[in-house]
Subunit: 218 residues, 2 copies
């Protein structure tokens, strides 16, 4: 290892520098746009990189939100309406997706200002992003305070999934490499990904085995 | 959209199929090996894809763990010792990293059986993975139960960061594209990533602007 950072080094970092450094440590994250609306169906859209899997049965997803940042409107809409959407960002729209992190006024919808189209599904109470190849509709399950730093963990139950491509494999896995999704590192760096391999269930007495190798030259 | 999945469709999926499907919805995730030991310094290593950023000040990272899966030893070691490491998986070692998900007995260390080298830092009470280009040493801060499905959210405070490359930018961001890290989707599919752009802080009255464009042909 070439560089070692101790608690002291980290504590001594200027605030913004430390935010960039620490945010980079979690590696590649999925880029998602959170779609919400208020009681008048006025829409809001915010990029969030803290979405994660919580459980498959019941089907739950979570995201961590800081109450005093730009996602405040998102959090208020979710609390008020009880519904939200998680829309995976396609690679070709990463710049517009990043633009939703600007501090627009509550009267301005990021859908209009950042070039996204709201898509309403008849009875579902939050807007989907029409441009997203993988969009999820969720009903709020709980909001739990993280004791360690008072951020809020929003957990939603998956009620609807919209997929653009026939990307579901025989075993239920979605081959997201077909969907050209962006991923993010740190606060502002966007990446594209390409598949390497789908691995077999690992067993102690068996060497690691690929079920499928992707063509990495594609 | 070509395919719509409703709550009913999802509920009707066979258990394993649903696990694969729901696990795919969170998109690209970072691939990390969690290094722990027991009181006799007997080591354990487990791949985890639920690591996420919790906060920069104090510097906190979290991961979600299911008590009854293969990561049970990891969780017990963390509770017992109060320390663990998060080691980013390099692309060339994705197959070995996946192999740590096999159900080895508590007497077998995944370091030995999957081909990783434990690296001890003098006074730090958990083993790092020598092969990882970005390794983080954490002290257990809290374990919080997720009410919605009784999984456990482990939150650690970052006490040490080991970086192989001089990859830290002027603003503190770690250019992880220099580290050749793997990412994961679903339960078993590995990907590599390549940088697109680092974006400027977004403002409502400014078009999205790249601070840096990566060479995508590299």
């Amino acid at each position: 290892m070439n560089q070692i950072y101790t608690s002291e080094t980290i504590n001594d970092m200027p605030q913004r520098y430390r935010a960039n450094f620490i945010n980079s440590l979690s590696g590649y994250k999925s880029a998602n746009l959170i779609g919400t609306c208020n009681g008048s169906r006025h829409t809001n859209l915010a990029i969030v990189t803290s979405v994660f899997h919580v459980g498959a049965n019941p089907p739950l997803m979570g995201m961590l939100m800081r109450p005093h940042t730009v996602t405040r409107d998102t959090l208020e809409n979710i609390k008020e309406q009880g519904y939200f959407t998680i829309n995976a960002v396609p690679v070709n729209l990463y710049a517009q997706a990043h633009q939703t992190s600007a501090r627009y006024t509550p009267e301005q919808s990021e859908f209009d200002h950042c070039g996204f189209t709201s898509h309403w599904q008849d009875d579902f109470a939050a807007p989907f992003v029409a441009e997203s190849p993988m969009a999820i509709g969720l009903r709020l399950e709980t909001i739990q305070k993280i004791e360690a730093n008072q951020t809020e963990l929003v957990i939603g139950r998956i009620e609807r999934v919209l997929l653009r491509e026939q990307a579901v494999e025989e075993d239920g896995t979605i081959d997201i490499s077909q969907l050209s999704l962006a991923c993010v590192s740190g606060l502002d760096t966007y990446h594209q990904a390409s598949g390497i391999a789908k691995m077999a269930y690992a067993k102690p007495d068996k060497a690691p085995t690929a079920l499928k190798l992707f063509n990495t030259d594609q």
